[in-house]
């Protein structure tokens, strides 16, 4: 089932497992399309299609090296994802810090009150 190419940001770009595999492969350094075809075991047109999506959101950059094109990961484009995860983590951490205070109070109440906790 073909899906409309809605990819407009890093979140959508990395929601596709194959594209994450490409990014993983590029995390070790620059690669040519042929390298990626070999590593992923995908047909060249598919790899090129994914690379195009990743380029559109700046997750990868490309440079010409003789007759081949080398792709490189651009970590800065992952910052929105990093920021989102950090924000989510921070929200829960702050909730939990406040929950610690509530729990300390409940523990004291329970220790202090015999059978009158309700």
């Amino acid at each position: 089932m073909a899906r409309a190419p809605t990819t407009t940001d890093a979140f959508n770009a990395i929601a596709e497992p194959r594209r994450r595999e490409i990014l993983d492969a590029l995390a070790d350094g620059e690669r040519s399309v042929n390298d990626l075809v070999r590593i992923l075991g995908l047909a060249q047109p598919q790899v090129s299609k994914h690379l195009r999506v990743l380029r559109e959101v700046d997750l990868v950059t490309v440079r010409e090296d003789g007759r081949q094109r080398l792709y490189r990961l651009n970590g800065h484009a992952l910052k929105p994802v990093h920021d989102w995860v950090s924000k989510y983590e921070k929200t829960w951490s702050e909730r939990f810090e406040q929950l610690d205070v509530v729990l300390d109070e409940l523990k004291r109440q329970e220790e202090g009150a015999d059978g009158h906790d309700k």
Binding site: F11, N12, I14, A15, P17, R20, L23, D24, A27, L73, N74, G75, H76, L78, K79, V81, H82, W84, V85, Y88, E89, T91, W92, S93, E94, R95, F96, E97, Q98, L99, D100, V101, V102, L103, D104, L106, K107, E110
Partner: protein
């Protein structure tokens, strides 16, 4: 007071977000703090505003609704339904962000959250699993900017952390 660490967030697969944290309290107290409206109001705001509504009808099929008002007056509201309740151990509930776009006549788009409490030596590990019912819903949730389940994103970020500096 000792430092008790931060919440650990992991993204085990395309549809799931896992949050874990250990607490220096037995599980029945964590459960009480999680299910008593006056107590939830004191911690759920995450210092971002005031919880003005906290309704908890704690029975299978019962509804819950939390509303927080931030200092600039923005209301953030969530609601859902309890699906499974094992006192002091486990709560499965649905969660819908009221700001997320919904299609008329369709079931509400949201997540299924599972709270698990495991106590060892008087300390309780809390795990919150947030699961989107499908990749499509997950994508919708991502699009709403609220929640995302991005497999391996954290691992990937670790790998590329160097280039972020």
């Amino acid at each position: 007071m000792t430092s008790r660490g931060t919440a650990k967030v992991t993204l085990p697969d395309d549809e799931t977000i896992l949050v874990t944290r250990e607490f220096d309290a037995p599980k029945h107290l964590v459960y009480k703090a999680w299910t008593t409206p006056e107590l939830v109001k004191r911690w759920w705001n995450a210092k971002r505003g005031e919880v003005t509504v906290c309704e908890i009808d704690l029975r299978v099929g019962g509804r819950w609704r939390y509303v927080m008002v931030t200092p600039d007056g923005t209301e953030v509201a969530f609601h859902g339904e309890y699906r499974e309740i094992v006192p002091n151990e486990r709560i499965v509930s649905t969660e819908v962000f009221e700001g997320a776009p919904q299609e008329e006549g369709q079931p509400e788009v949201g997540t299924v959250n599972t709270l698990t409490l495991i106590e060892v030596d008087g300390r309780t590990t809390v795990t919150i699993e947030t699961k989107a019912p499908s990749k499509e819903v997950r994508d919708a949730i991502i699009a709403s900017g609220m929640e995302a389940g991005l497999q391996d994103a954290l691992d990937l970020l670790e790998e590329v952390a160097v280039s972020l500096r």
